[in-house]
């Protein structure tokens, strides 16, 4: 399948890959490069990847104009609670669905897609009223709540798929050894779907971490706000203060990137959602 004989193909491959991947990454490059400019400086008339006199002053401004550190901590609390819960609940649902017969499996697939069809705008007011009824306004719970549905039904789908690829015999032999559902889940299922779990962890993290509608609606107290609110606020204060805005964007992006780099070393790289499992 791979034409190894001609080295030109190899070079062409790398050239294409670097161009394509690189152009996607440019947005991050521009973000970082702009954030290194001095706040308030007039933007350069020509493209500069590294600005004259690069400085971290914009970052200092981002942290001093707003309690950004506090917001970041609050965001960390949210994802710290929500992401593990997402993995648990999503994989539970996925396992149950994967274990169903042909009919149940099919029905649930349709159900999951149907759940994806409702747009977020249909939820805001109704969820607010619901959360207000049970006294959740201004707590972390409205922000964490989507963990119940695995952050996004799509992620349940991805996991269900991964579980389904585990040969039946593996489950059955473990069950013969006296394993209950929870043990099957944690000892047999999870280790075998690590790549899919890693993917879902990264995507769910990005979702909870970047959510800026929920905190704006469901939180009140300033000391509980999350990091995206800081960026939203800075945009309002001055939407042309690009160094400070991009610096905040970089700060906001960094944790997702770090988590991704860590996860892809330990569990998952974007080449695989599941591994082939031999019985």
């Amino acid at each position: 399948m791979k034409p190894r004989h001609n080295p030109v193909w190899g070079w062409l491959y790398h050239l294409t890959a670097i161009t394509v991947v690189g152009s996607g990454l440019l947005i991050l490059v521009f973000m970082v490069s702009t954030s290194l400019r001095a706040p308030g400086s007039i933007p350069p008339p020509v493209l500069q990847l590294i600005p004259d006199n690069p400085s971290l002053a914009a970052y200092a401004r981002a942290f001093s104009d707003l309690p950004l550190a506090r917001y970041l901590f609050n965001s960390a609390v949210i994802v710290g609670i929500a992401v593990p819960l997402t993995l648990v609940f999503a994989s539970w649902a996925a396992l149950a669905i994967a274990g169903m017969g042909r009919r149940g499996w099919r029905i649930w697939l349709y159900a999951l897609v149907a759940l994806m069809i409702f747009p977020a705008s249909a939820f805001w007011l109704a969820r607010y009223v619901l959360f207000a009824q049970i006294g959740f306004i201004d707590t972390v719970w409205p922000l964490v709540a989507p963990a119940l549905i695995g952050a996004n039904p799509l992620y349940v789908l991805i996991l269900a798929w991964a579980f389904k690829r585990i040969p039946r015999e593996l489950w059955e032999s473990a069950r013969l050894d006296g394993a209950g559902t929870l043990v099957l889940w944690s000892e047999v299922g999870l280790p075998l779907v690590r790549p899919a779990l890693g993917a879902v962890a990264v995507l769910a993290f990005a979702q909870f971490w970047g959510d800026f509608i929920s905190p704006a609606l469901y939180l009140r107290t300033d000391t509980r706000m999350t990091a995206p609110i800081a960026l939203q606020a800075l945009i309002q204060y001055d939407r042309t203060q690009w160094p400070v805005l991009t610096a905040t964007a970089v700060v906001l992006t960094l944790p997702s990137v770090l988590l991704f780099l860590w996860v892809q070393r330990t569990a998952w790289n974007p080449g695989k959602i599941y591994e082939r499992v031999e019985a």
Partner: protein
């Protein structure tokens, strides 16, 4: 048996979560929640206000809810009212008050004022108070009456050798000044310096319409129709649009998108910028040049200004109304308004504070803060209508299109009229009854 490692991880996580939630702290348990929006300078002013209030009323806790963005602020209010948990006290702009008052979600403050020994309406500027009546009952108490003024860069005037704007300057003076200060040195068709920056919107256009003897509705109290198509109004509108399309003294849409006028003013490449008092705390950070404020040019029908005012309103659903009132009362006492006035953000609605050094501080820019007071007699308010927000939005959209030369001005005005008439009819139905 579940793997011990997993159990351990689970337990550690649980402990961590509980610990983190404890660190996050408990709700404030405040008696009064007070929701505002604004930038850091404004928020700091309100924080000072709340702190001072706590000093005098140690038993009444006020919690400040800060929202950065006006649109988020409205979304929050809507959700809060729907959820039955509105903030007890909130700042509402006079153009939006009718919506809330009409729905009956505001606690009318007139009875409180009448019983109060601190607040005396005679001490307020009348044209700040008047827009906050609904059905003849005072709903909210305004903190400010900021009008639209011309902020200008003195250094650019000096360099060009042009006299500073004087009280009583005319539209022609205004245009000539803007033209003289628009400089395209390299002749590429894109000026490096603009004479003027102005947001093409209804609230910026209206003082010019009034200044030409026009108006937007026929009757202020119970409007029956829009009058934007009468000659006085149309002439002023065309003059306003021509600032961009004909005279090019403002950035075009692309240049505005690249860098907005307020930013250009702040970095010294725009000579005059029209804004309300709101811009002052930000402009005080300008170091590269000196700036000042001047009155709007006087139109053919005389001097005109436009009201910008936000008021303290109380939710009808407020739990502890006497506590909420204590706070509103304090905020609108001489002491309270003085605290907020020091931030530079507001033109105080209390005469005594407006005339005091807290507002007229000779050491704080703009040197000519008095212009805000001098223009007060000429200030007019936009109509008090439930559907005003919709009408204003429609006109602003069309004005913007005409201003940037994307639509023929009269056609844009016609479109605005066609679209707005629907809301005008709803408004008439509302006050006349079905």
């Amino acid at each position: 048996m579940l793997n011990r490692r997993w159990l351990m991880i689970g337990v550690v996580w649980l402990v961590g979560v509980v610990a983190l939630l404890l660190i996050q702290g408990d709700g404030s348990g405040a008696q009064v929640s007070f929701m505002i929006f604004g930038d850091p300078a404004e928020i700091a002013a309100y924080e000072g206000l709340v702190a001072a209030f706590h000093e005098q009323h140690p038993d009444t806790r006020v919690e400040l809810i800060k929202v950065a963005d006006q649109a988020d602020y409205r979304a929050r209010l809507a959700a809060d009212f729907a959820g039955g948990t509105p903030p007890d006290v909130m700042l509402i702009n006079y153009r939006r008050m009718a919506q809330f008052a009409d729905a009956g979600v505001l606690e009318a403050l007139q009875p409180y004022v009448e019983a109060s020994s601190v607040i005396n309406l005679d001490e307020f500027y009348e044209n700040s108070i008047e827009p906050f009546y609904w059905d003849g009952v005072l709903q909210c108490i305004p903190q400010n009456l900021s009008s639209l003024v011309v902020f200008y860069n003195r250094d650019l005037f000096d360099v060009a050798g042009i006299p500073y704007p004087q009280m009583g300057w005319t539209w022609d003076d205004f245009l000539a000044t803007a033209e003289a200060l628009t400089i395209d040195a390299d002749g590429d068709g894109t000026p490096e310096q603009y004479g003027l920056g102005i947001e093409p919107s209804m609230i910026r256009l209206m003082p010019f319409i009034w200044g030409n003897g026009g108006d937007v509705v026929d009757f202020y109290e119970q409007p029956t129709g829009l009058t934007m198509f009468r000659e006085d109004a149309v002439t002023a509108y065309l003059w306003f649009v021509a600032l961009s399309t004909e005279h090019g003294v403002v950035p075009n849409r692309v240049q505005e998108q690249a860098q907005d006028s307020e930013n250009r003013f702040m970095n010294g490449t725009t000579a005059m910028f029209l804004n309300s008092r709101r811009g002052v705390p930000t402009y005080r950070g300008i170091t590269g040049f000196t700036w000042d404020a001047a009155a709007l040019p006087v139109g053919p029908a005389g001097p005109m200004g436009i009201l910008h005012a936000d008021a303290y309103c109380m939710a009808a659903a407020a739990k502890d109304k006497s506590a909420a009132w204590r706070f509103i009362e304090f905020a609108n006492s001489i002491e309270g308004q003085t605290l907020v006035a020091r931030s530079g953000r507001t033109v105080p609605s209390l005469r005594a504070v407006a005339e005091s050094p807290a507002f007229l501080d000779p050491n704080a820019a703009p040197a000519n803060s008095r212009v805000f007071l001098d223009t007060i007699p000429a200030i007019r308010a936009l109509p008090r209508m439930v559907y005003w927000v919709d009408i204003e939005l429609i006109f602003s959209e069309e004005i913007e299109r005409a201003f940037y030369g994307e639509a023929e001005p009269l056609e844009a005005l016609r479109v605005a009229g066609r679209r707005a008439i629907e809301y005008m009819e709803l408004e008439v139905l509302r006050w006349r009854g079905p």
